[in-house]
């Protein structure tokens, strides 16, 4: 039985439009939060149903064993960052380290599950915690984390293929590429 795809859709509302970037960057006044060049940008923003459908089809053709959790990305690229003002606003470094954006709620949809769930990415400090939480939410499925997956692939490709009901988390980045969750550091 081929594993179903599991998709994570992004909410469309403005409040949950998100961009991850280095603390201290400021984007232009257009209101779109910043991205930064040179590193992988996990843009989580508005979605379109059409994109979702396309991705769903192409994923069926993927070679990956197991299903996918897709984190939808926004198609808009962030505008150029405004020049950084050092030391402004006047917030101590220790507070900046703790600064978090407003809740990053992310929709998780699994084909085959009767309803969607929402997950706050800020509640977790690591991919492992996120997977554990998703495990609890979708208790009929198991999420395989990145490390285990790679290890199994290297050592026992046969048994990896045999784990039919396990899922591999993936996300779509701003370039539209499907990436395995876990390569980029959590923060």
């Amino acid at each position: 039985m081929s594993p179903e795809n599991r998709n994570v859709e992004m909410p469309e509302s403005e409040e949950t439009k998100l961009t991850l970037g280095l603390p201290g960057d400021q984007s232009a006044k257009s209101g779109i939060k910043r991205g930064f060049s040179g590193t992988i940008d996990l843009n989580i923003g508005g979605s379109s149903e059409d994109d979702h459908e396309e991705q769903h089809d192409s994923d069926d053709d993927d070679v990956d064993v197991g299903g996918h959790i897709h984190l939808r990305s926004s198609e808009t690229k962030a505008p150029e960052a405004k020049a950084q003002v050092v030391g402004w606003p006047p917030v101590r470094v220790s507070r900046i380290k703790n600064v978090k954006k407003s809740c990053k709620y992310v929709k998780v949809a699994v084909d085959g599950a009767p309803y969607l769930r929402k997950v706050d990415l800020q509640m977790y400090n690591s991919y492992h915690q996120l997977f554990t939480a998703l495990d609890h939410m979708f208790s009929c499925f198991t999420i395989r984390n990145n490390l285990n997956y790679e290890r199994k692939m290297m050592m026992e490709p046969a048994s990896a293929a045999a784990n039919g009901m396990e899922y591999v988390p993936t996300y779509e980045d701003k370039d539209g590429d499907w990436m395995l969750v876990g390569d980029v550091p959590w923060k």
Binding site: Q26, V91, R95, K101
Partner: protein, 584 residues
């Protein structure tokens, strides 16, 4: 009068002086006459040095031979926001070396914004047999090895407080260096440390110190451990929790709630990193007794904040993130009538769009509802003159008013005018205002108000404000009690500075960065004013290599009787009498 002064035996005067603790009063006493100066200096036990470069260790020791407690401050305040380059100075080691010889009975060292090395800590641990209090506030340069030396050697240590310091955290093992015979701990603050300390060592330490009143844990202490610690120390008055991130487990929750309810003396709560709102009710039982609550590291949203804060009717101090929103501040104003101090920090300081519904209205509500409110630090994204006027009228008792509108040069959002009139109302109505930080769009007019009305003002912070020199002139010529002035990104130049040079000797310090003060003016100032240290801080290279009219990057001017310091790094140039004569 002279006869009367001489007729009192010294011991009597000493006894009388011992009731006078404030530095200001002590200084006044010492100026009455020579014999009082002599008596006073021999019996002064506590010294406060607001700028460690204003005086040398040798001078302090020479005048005050019997000191038991010293407080030193190093870097300028703007160092907190990374405006002072790494390596600028503020080294405590020379002080420790001198005091190790001169003050073997030293009991207390309190340092703020200083560079403290392990070597310094080891010297402290070795030199002062009766050492009791070590407070390192916003310090850096030391590691947990230095802490281990303190723990191992200071048998009479009462207080170890690492408030917001940057520690090279090699391991949590240092805590285990407190010997089993050590029982005198009263206050421990390790909230800035990253690594895990041995929980069993911590529990044993807490368990054997019956006088422990204040315990601020670091984020590495998980929730499950907290209940045990609380049961070991139900006499705690101040608690900083560790991290609270955990799925809600009913048994952990009830254990924690039970432990908290046993802490009947608890007045202050802080910590709450990563707190899961479901655990908050565990502290409800002690909320009515709380006078101080620091939630500024907790990403709790306003509904949970409201539930919590509404139970703290005796709250006097609240530090919180702007997740509290206007609606939460309304609730605060309604429930906490004894509130004295409020700080609202930005949860998303670098975002451009507001992420929370916090506006000027929240501050208006609190100023209206809390009659004892006198100290405010408020970050927000919009402000109006009307709101500031209302706030000023509601609450003329402000002693500290710090408003940070996040986007520089933001005008009144209703009228698009500068906020001069609003801040003017604040200084006019709040006659006891000692500390003020302004922000938003401001012209020289606001400085006219500040100079006219800010007669009690001691510390003023300016950023992205003003039109020209006149603004600075108003402040320097009008604010009679000004001690610390810090300015960044304002178009202030040479004239106001040079015209008010004498004023600078009556102040502790002046910081100006990204302003328009020329190198030539700095040289002139250094030459004219021998009792000022005029430091040019410029990472672009020697100021001599640029035209004299070229503005300096940063300028730090402070009065000093110690002369130029000898520990300046390569990017700091001292302007002194010789500077005008030096060849380029």
């Amino acid at each position: 009068m002279l006869k009367m002064a001489n007729s009192f035996p010294e011991e009597v005067l000493e006894h009388v002086f011992s009731f006078i603790q404030s530095d200001k009063d002590r200084n006044s006493i010492s100026m009455v006459c020579k014999s009082w100066y002599e008596i006073e200096r021999w019996c002064r036990r506590r010294i406060f040095v607001g700028n460690c470069y204003a005086v040398s260790p040798r001078m302090v020791i020479r005048r005050f031979p019997e000191v038991r407690s010293i407080e030193l401050k190093g870097k300028p305040h703007f160092a907190d926001f990374k405006l002072v380059p790494e390596g600028w100075g503020g080294y405590v080691y020379p002080w420790i070396v001198a005091m190790a010889v001169a003050y073997p009975w030293l009991e207390e060292i309190r340092l703020k914004r200083m560079v403290v090395t392990d070597e310094s800590l080891e010297l402290i641990a070795k030199s002062f047999k009766n050492f009791k209090v070590l407070v390192l506030s916003s310090c850096e340069g030391f590691s947990t090895d230095g802490l281990a030396a303190i723990a191992a050697n200071c048998r009479n240590l009462r207080e170890l407080d690492l408030w917001e310091s940057e520690v090279d955290d090699l391991s949590g093992h240092w805590l285990s260096h407190f010997p089993d015979t050590y029982t005198s701990l009263v206050s421990l603050n390790i909230s800035c440390l990253g690594s895990e300390v041995s929980f069993s060592a911590l529990e044993r330490l807490v368990g054997r110190c019956p006088n422990l009143r204040s315990l601020r844990l670091n984020p590495a202490v998980p929730l499950e451990r907290l209940a045990n610690l609380l049961r070991q120390a139900p006499q705690l008055v101040e608690l900083g929790t560790g991290t609270c991130l955990a799925e809600l487990k009913p048994d952990v929750f009830s254990n924690l709630a039970g432990a908290f309810s046993g802490c009947k003396e608890l007045k202050s709560l802080s910590g709450f990193w990563e707190v899961v709102p479901a655990y908050l009710p565990a502290v409800y039982s002690i909320c009515p007794g709380l006078t101080s609550l620091n939630l500024s590291y907790a990403s709790i949203q306003s509904p949970d904040l409201i539930k919590l804060v509404s139970q703290c009717q005796n709250l006097q101090r609240l530090w919180v993130l702007d997740y509290i929103e206007d609606v939460g501040l309304d609730a605060l104003a309604a429930s906490c009538k004894d509130l004295r101090e409020l700080r609202v920090f930005p949860s998303d300081p670098f975002g451009l769009e507001p992420n929370v519904a916090l506006t000027e209205q929240g501050l208006v509500s609190v100023s209206e509802g809390c009659p004892k409110l006198h100290s405010v630090l408020y970050f927000c994204r919009q402000m109006s003159n009307a709101a500031l006027l209302t706030i000023a009228r509601n609450q003329p008792n402000f002693t500290c008013f710090r408003l940070c509108i996040i986007e520089p040069r933001t005008p009144d959002y209703l009228t698009l005018q500068p906020l001069d009139v609003g801040f003017g109302a604040i200084v006019e109505h709040c006659k006891d205002l000692q500390r003020l930080s302004v922000s938003g769009l401001l012209t020289d007019r606001v400085f006219e108000y500040i100079g006219t009305y800010g007669k009690k003002l001691e510390m003023l912070s300016l950023a992205f404000a003003g039109d020209g020199d006149l603004g600075l002139h108003h402040v320097l010529s009008g604010c009679e009690n000004l001690r610390k002035l810090e300015i960044r990104d304002c178009p202030f130049g040479d004239k106001a500075l040079l015209d008010n040079a004498a004023k600078l000797e009556t102040m502790r310090s002046l910081w100006m960065s990204s302003c328009s003060v020329s190198y030539g003016a700095c040289k002139l100032l250094g030459q004219k004013m021998p009792r000022l240290n005029v430091e040019v801080i410029d990472e672009r290279g020697p100021p001599d290599s640029r035209p004299e009219s070229c503005p300096v990057e940063k300028l730090y001017i402070y009065r000093s009787i110690a002369g130029p310091r000898i520990d300046m790094p390569g990017f700091v140039w001292m302007m002194d009498e010789d500077s005008a004569l030096r060849l380029s």
